[in-house]
Amino acid sequence: MVKDQEYLNSIASQTIEYSKKLGATDVNVEVIHSISETVNLRNKQLDESNRSDSFAIGITTYINKKKSTISSSNLSKDNIKILTERCIETAKITPDDEFNSLPDKDLMAKNFDSLDLYDEFHVPNNKKIDILKEAEEAASKEAKIINTETDFTENKSNFVLANSNGFINGYKTSNFNISCVAVAKKDSQMERDYDFTSKRHFSDLTNPTNIGKSAAENTVKKLDPKKIKSEKIGIIFDKKISKGILSVLSSAISAGAISRGTSFLKNKIGEEIFSKSLNVIDDPKIKKGLGSKNFDSEGVETNNLKLIENGVLKSYLVDTYYGKKLNLKSNGRSGGTTNLYFENGSMPLETLLKSSKKNLYITETIGHGTNLVTGDYSVGANGFMVENGEFIYPVSEITIAGNFKEIFKNITLANDLEFKYSTNAPTLLVEGMIVAGR
């Protein structure tokens, strides 16, 4: 069982008290306990079982405008004392930074809604194995599948965030995750693909047979790929990767990147940076949401934010430090976005696929080819050639490239948004990107 609130609260409170005794003017402490159990199967046999029981404490001490942070996995009283002393000593010799401070008191979270993020249900390992076998049975029904690997992870954690202004709160969360990876072979060529389901509550998980089946189908479809010629072509991003466009947006509008001058979206508030019909929302209060939270990593209240409205950039993601620097109030996004998504599009997927005579449908990108300073983008990719709305053949060993300033303006959304991750986007089409191949 994960430790209860009372236990974590008492460690946090004692640490704050001790830090103040040693001369800290402000203190922030986070204490986390998590227990995670994973079972892996390979070709329907148990491959690995892994149990993890871990504590973590993070202490930030301020001496007026000086600051230092320390973290540890050892929660013994002696160790916390030694670390607190070290933290204070380091803070003393660290130069002043006028923007260092705890969040303003009036911004701290006061509403602690139940977001239904915790499911007490425990899945014993033998039950996990049965579930995974079911997924692998389904996957290996496809004749060309030569290897299946699955895992089931159950994670339970509890945390407390406290600061010397009197804030103290936390709550339990849980996560259940089933994934299936399949390998298919034809001649000497192999391909792999996967599917998964991840939920706060066990009973919300997708049926394992469906996961296995779709992992196998995704994989077999990729066999016998072609490398296509370099050309300018419309690119359709599958839902597995379309959400990546929102991740680029969120990195580029973080107050840190804006303040440091390292974002291609600096000074773009109020400007139309996306196609006019697009809205982007970050909603922290979705019940059972994978990214849901009552407050950010500093304890600041998180509210619903419309980041993009009719294509126009409405706000940055602001924490306390960079907020003070930019003269903006924190909007509770220290630690990033919560449940971030494109408001659903209006076009059925079939219509999107037929939007041009020829489109390239991408299911996977590889590499980290995003330059946030310039917006330049170039990554490896694979997927399918689509002609007249039909999938014709698989494509691999190509790259796709462009610049996000243009990509953002050339997006058309399908109407198939679903909430599978914490960041979600429907299938989407980007016109005018460059494919490099043969």
């Binding site: 540890s72 010799i93 590499g367 080819g369 490239a401």
Partner: protein
């Protein structure tokens, strides 16, 4: 040496007894104890932005029988907790009985000193250097719009207890110094990044104002990129510079030669042992024994002394990289490649310092032989799909080659290729092998471990460059 049992009701003898009792009927396993400390001091935006310290203590208890691995870890080194883990392992492996018990080979060789880089130098002196770095780069002109510089130091002590009461220990220092510069000119912005590091004290890198070289490189790369034009798109000849571009080898070949993927037959290389996988003249090794290098290890995380493993010799595939589990199941021996990020992670076969050895050509000859292509000098990172063999890596400094001459710099672009065939496209291997500066971290199954790479300049006949110019 660390005392892992301080304030604990456990001691060496009790721990050894629990280990023997748990692993008695298993093929393999160990109790792995780890005490690690790390620090990071970051200068950004003209200020010391962050000064942090972390200490982590814990154990990972592993039992293996047949192909099944049971693992349990915790940061509570107490009798109660270790016994609970022991029960957990026994429950998982209850109906299995193992037979294997290969001894760990012994070696007295050490590839780095027992030093603690974090404590060796005062916080003040590190802050002072970071401020000097900031002033030095900013004095290069108004075009400097952002400077970020950091020290990262780590000290990791490990102890491995095996079922015959055998205890193996290692103390591992690791440091890294990084500089990132953003330049702005005529409304255009570009970044340059450079760093150095290894398993020794900071002083080795910072004496005689060595740090200036790191600053100069970061500045130079950003400056080159300011002048860059859009990169070409399509297949062409590629000349790779020596040193860090060897992440091509790491991605294209290295991961595919790790034991686990080959035992499971999911690597594109699994049935190519003894066959030609590269042009003649191409020899690739994975060496854990280089003194003070970032990827070096005295012993791996299972206690096996590391070695210099020949992977490809003159174009022929010779060996995979093995940990004990995969070596046993493939009837071979561990190559000392069993690594884990921390006690929270299971052991996997991993790379250490992966190197292509020198050949006979000069870089000049390579460039002169190219009619139209690119010359790539510096890279960000890479990634591979080991099953299909497709890999990518991202240029951060590259130039076009026209009629045998180096031309304008080009914007960063991703290069993509096919692992099993790319080394057959290597037509010239340079005589200028160089080690990377010591900044690499490799990710696999969510675990990051420090690695090194090295190579001479090489000419690749055909690779796809992911630019925007058709």
């Amino acid at each position: 040496m660390s005392n892992f049992y301080k304030n604990s009701d456990l001691d060496n003898i009790k721990a050894e007894r629990i280990v023997s009792d748990t692993l008695n009927n298993c093929d393999d396993g160990e109790l792995y104890l780890e005490n690690s400390k790390s620090e990071s001091i970051l200068l950004d935006d003209n200020k010391i932005k962050n000064s942090s310290y972390s200490s982590d203590l814990g154990y990972g208890f592993r039992a293996i029988t047949g192909e099944v691995v049971a693992y349990s870890h915790s940061n509570d080194i107490s009798k109660d907790s270790v016994l609970k883990s022991s029960q957990n392992l026994k429950d998982t492996l209850k109906s299995k009985k193992g037979t294997y018990n290969h001894e760990i080979p012994k070696s007295n060789k050490k590839y780095y000193e027992d030093l603690n880089p974090i404590e060796e130098k005062s916080q003040n002196s590190k802050i002072k250097i970071l401020n000097e770095v900031n002033n030095y780069i900013r004095s290069k002109g108004d075009m400097v719009s952002q400077v970020t510089a950091s020290f990262l130091g780590e000290h990791k002590e490990i102890e491995i207890i095996r079922s015959n009461s055998e205890v193996l220990k290692d103390v591992r220092p690791l440091v890294r110094f990084n500089v990132s510069v953003v330049l702005e000119k005529n409304g255009k912005k570009e970044t340059g990044v450079y760093g150095i590091g290894g398993r020794q004290s900071y002083d080795e890198y910072l004496k005689n104002e060595n740090w200036k070289h790191v600053c100069d490189e970061a500045f130079r790369i950003a400056d080159v990129n300011l002048k860059s034009k859009p990169a070409p798109a399509g297949e062409m000849k590629v000349v790779l510079g020596p040193g860090w571009p060897a992440i091509l080898i790491h991605e294209a070949i290295g991961h595919g030669l790790e034991g686990d993927f080959n035992r499971k037959k999911t690597s594109a290389f699994h049935n190519l042992m003894g066959q030609r996988v590269a042009s003649e003249g191409v020899t690739i090794v994975d060496d854990g024994t280089l003194n003070l290098r970032r990827g070096s290890l005295t012993i791996d995380d299972e206690g096996t002394p590391t070695e210099n493993t020949v992977l490809i010799e003159n174009g022929i595939l010779k060996n995979f990289m093995q940990d004990r589990l995969n070596a046993r199941l493939m009837n071979t021996k561990s190559t000392g490649s069993g690594r884990r990020e921390s006690y929270k992670h299971v052991v996997l076969p991993r790379m250490r310092n992966t190197m292509m050895l020198s050949g006979k050509y000069s870089q000049d000859e390579m460039i002169r032989s190219v009619h139209k292509g690119i010359f790539a000098v510096s890279f960000g990172g890479g990634q591979v799909d080991i099953t299909s063999g497709k890999f990518v890596f991202n240029c951060t400094e590259a130039y076009e080659i026209n009629n045998g001459k180096i031309g304008s710099p080009i914007k960063g672009a991703t290069l993509i290729g096919d692992g099993p065939s790319i080394l057959k496209e290597v037509s010239m291997v340079g005589n200028d092998m160089k080690l990377d500066p010591g900044i690499g971290t490799c990710g696999k199954a969510g675990q990051g471990v420090p690695v090194g790479v090295a190579q001479p300049s090489i000419l690749i006949n055909k690779m796809t460059v992911g630019g925007t110019q058709l």
